[in-house]
């Protein structure tokens, strides 16, 4: 029985490993959906409760009616915003 060169074996193993990983990523990121038809959509939306949503999708806080509005963030002051624009394409006009 012929014994294969160890270095070649190792190289092929790495290629095979990378190939298997790529296939696994493609397989895991593409999931086919069973086509189950809904024949009569229910009216479940009428009783929707926002607390069933994950925290990141829950509605923002609603202020009580007649509550004073907080002061929103100020517009950031930047050189561009005040019209001083540095130029790097012309050595004669640095600013």
């Amino acid at each position: 029985m012929q014994i294969l060169n160890y270095d070649i074996d190792k190289k092929y193993l790495i290629y095979a490993g990378i190939g298997a990983f790529v296939l696994l990523v493609i397989y895991a990121s593409t999931r086919k959906v069973d086509l189950i038809e809904i024949t009569a959509p229910t009216n479940a939306t009428a009783n929707f409760d926002h607390s069933s949503l994950p925290e990141s999708l829950q509605p923002p806080e609603r202020l009580p009616d007649n509550a004073e509005l907080p002061i929103p963030a100020k517009r950031p002051v930047t050189l561009n915003a005040i019209g001083v624009k540095p130029r790097f394409d012309n050595n004669n006009n640095i600013f």
Partner: protein, 261 residues
């Protein structure tokens, strides 16, 4: 035909493969199965042979209902309409380009979080004043936007001095979630990203950069700006629309610098 797809609040792309034997106008609509007035896309296309619809969903519900039907025949049950066939629906990874968004800016981080929550829930929350978690942004969700008793055609606007955003519930309720996001990012850009607060085109492009980077669908941006401009068909708006189309087309190639022409 309506297919229920469990999306489990993941960010994903729905890939819907449809086949027709001759040219047919196929409508694709994706809505939230649970929350009212929450649509993720509503589009149509003439399909002749096999065609693929990509529905990008940076935000998704627990369960989505995917409507697929021939516009001529309306929504019928499977077996009642043989003019098209759904070959498959698959869930794929959402492609995003977060590197184009300046998330080092805390205002951008905060507003994206605030706007995402608001846009997803806008169809099911009452009018009123809403505030972001850190108190940096205030949004007045009004039944309609009016000036001197006359209803305005704009779906949203921002007070340039204060940064308070006003949103018309009457218009927002019919918009898709991506439509809402595109509008709010435009208003945010006016005050917090623009060099010139009054520049509409600059606000369009600054807003779109975030919108597209987050992975929202391009077609919904075309749609919302197109519909807004139809209500105000000025020469300036035509130029704006052309620039938006050019910007979106170039975005895929990272060519996001507008050249003076």
């Amino acid at each position: 035909m309506v297919i229920q797809v469990p999306t489990n609040f993941e960010e994903l792309t729905l890939v819907i493969k449809v086949w027709t034997s001759k040219p047919e106008k196929i409508v694709i609509k994706v809505i939230d199965a649970d929350q009212p007035n929450t649509t993720f896309t509503n589009r149509d296309k003439i399909v002749d042979g096999e065609s693929i619809f990509f529905v990008r969903m940076p935000v998704s519900p627990k369960n989505a209902l995917v409507y697929v039907y021939n516009d001529v025949n309306g929504n019928l049950l499977k077996g009642q309409d043989n003019s098209f066939n759904i070959e498959s629906i698959t869930k794929q990874m959402l492609e995003k380009k977060l590197d184009v968004i300046d998330f080092s800016n805390p205002l951008v981080r905060s507003f994206v979080n605030f706007a995402t929550r608001f846009c997803y829930c806008a169809g099911s929350i009452p009018s009123g004043n809403y505030v972001s978690k850190d108190g940096k942004f205030v949004l007045k969700y009004m039944p309609t936007i009016s000036d001197g008793g006359e209803e305005q055609t704009t779906p949203a606007r921002i007070e340039l001095d204060t940064g308070v955003i006003e949103v018309s519930k009457r218009q927002f309720i019919d918009f898709t979630v991506p439509n809402r996001m595109a509008i709010l990012l435009h208003e945010f850009s006016h005050v917090y990203l623009n060099d010139n607060v009054d520049d509409e085109v600059e606000a369009d492009l600054n807003g779109l950069l975030i919108y597209l980077g987050l992975g929202y669908p391009r077609i919904e941006a075309f749609e919302v700006f197109g519909n807004t401009f139809i209500n105000a068909p000025t020469e300036g708006n035509k130029i704006r629309y052309d620039k938006i189309i050019s910007f979106i087309d170039n975005f895929e190639h990272y060519d996001t610098v507008m050249k003076n022409e």
